[in-house]
Subunit: 301 residues, 2 copies
């Protein structure tokens, strides 16, 4: 299968490398790592074992790649207004588009631009960082939950899940990808938000019972917002406790992506990760004072 990776950060490089290793024709749209990867290939350092791809197809422009069977998007969401330029040239009549980006609004925008029938959403549970150019470091997890926008594409979603599974990535297809997105937001909003705001890793926040209570309350605000969207099956309140227990078991001093972005002075994924879920909740009459406060403070100039 011919696959283009758009957004070759840690996530894009990690999944692209696995798909190539499994025999697919993978083409990476590269910026920072172009020179290193086209010259020396791609090094994956992974908790599941390191591997190296000596020859990797890297490109600077989407037009050089041309139409592919599948586009996998790992862009930071604040770059979504570049979809036409970065994704457009990759789309032919049969092309499928899978966004593994965080937050809300990505599938919808892709569907507007390229038609809902080819768009699939995926939620990636992956702990990975880029290191020096040409190297990606895999720290934790990696599984993907994906699903179609259009219900009649559930068969194709199963095939996509099979593609990742065959590449060694735990992956399964679900009918209601919106629920999976919201489930991840239950974790992302408090932990990405508070770790970024306070510049403290997850374990420092959870070492305080007062902060843990705030995290739990934010989670319950997000669950209420999720359940107001008409999910096929509601997210139970107990999911908040599960997520806190899960996080306590994570790598010590884990820093969510937004914390790292803020520390390094990069733009934050505030819009997709916090503002849109907040608006979606408020539009359905859900009061979300702590989520609103988090957004207000992270968005201060």
């Amino acid at each position: 299968m011919r696959i283009a990776i758009v957004g070759s950060g840690a996530l894009g490089l990690f999944y692209g490398a696995h798909l190539q290793r499994a025999g697919n024709d993978v083409r990476f749209l590269l910026r920072r790592d172009y020179d290193a990867i086209t010259k020396n290939g791609l090094q994956v350092r992974s908790i599941n074992g390191d591997f190296h791809l000596p020859v990797v197809s890297g490109f600077r422009q989407a037009a050089e790649i041309g139409p592919v069977d599948l586009v996998v998007i790992g862009l930071k969401t604040w770059a979504n207004d570049r979809y036409p330029e970065l994704v457009g040239p990759l789309v032919g009549p049969e092309t499928m588009i899978l966004t593994l980006q965080n937050g809300l609004g990505n599938e919808e925008r892709l569907a507007e631009l390229f038609g809902a029938d080819r768009v699939y959403g995926g939620v990636a549970y992956l702990g990975a960082n880029r290191e020096e150019p040409g190297t990606v470091c895999h720290l934790a997890a990696g599984r993907i939950i994906l699903g179609p926008i259009m219900a009649h594409n559930s068969g194709h979603a199963e095939e996509l899940a099979g593609l990742f599974s065959a590449a060694g990535i735990p992956c399964h297809a679900v009918a209601d990808i919106q629920r999976a997105r919201w489930e991840k937001l239950v974790w992302n909003i408090p932990f990405n938000g508070l770790c970024a705001l306070m510049q403290r890793p997850v374990d420092v926040l959870l070492a305080s019972s007062k902060t843990t209570e705030i995290i739990s309350r934010i989670m319950r605000e997000v669950i209420a917002a999720a359940n107001a969207q008409g999910l096929r099956e509601p997210i139970p309140d107990a999911y908040a406790d599960e997520m806190i227990t899960f996080t306590r078991a994570m790598t010590a001093s884990y820093r969510p992506s937004m914390q790292i972005d803020r520390a390094e002075g990069r733009p934050l994924e505030l819009e997709a990760l916090i503002a849109r879920p907040l608006q979606a909740g408020q539009d359905r009459g859900v009061d979300m004072p702590l989520t609103a406060a988090l957004y207000a403070l992270l968005d201060l100039p």
Copy 2:
């Protein structure tokens, strides 16, 4: 009148200087500014006109001062466990004690130690900073609202108010000093808390409509907590809007004391200013999620 000033920060120096200029025998318990003040006196730079006191009675130990008619306390509240050592030697049979400290719990502790009959609480609306040793800079306001702990002392409270008025400090006595304390907390909790947390002055917070909404919600949490304490007259919800309008008119880039304390790595007055009011509200069943979040985040190690 013989007056001792305990806690000679900006507030203690400012009020002590005015009381001395008006003819009182004022004795300052000094630490940082001892050398400068005993040598060169005390310089007041004020929006109402500068003045200099060439001879000032400074002491390093309360025992050197001995009993006085009035003790005025301007200590940071985290030093309250030093009341016995700092205030004890100043108290004779007729001594009155006036605390101008922030937050809740100060009068109660003084009453436990020295008897409620001599204790008065005051709320100071003062913008002042210390500058180089021996100099205090008065930036804004200065008025005091004070009242007795014991209702039968309202006459003495009027006399104390007269003492300050005669020294050029707008001051009046009220029957319910707890209400005045809570009124100030309505301002102090959101502005001291958020400015300290974000390290931004008040005008930056109020330039964002999202942050202004958070400030307003915190104010309404504090008003609800106040009104649950059985004040003689409740604080109306509209007081929140008044305080925001008042703050918009303040000196540009005003930094509340907790912001400065945090920037300079000093301890914060979290206990008296946020934790006690929060506990007082929660004890009466008032839900205060944003105040609790502010406390949790400011108290993170």
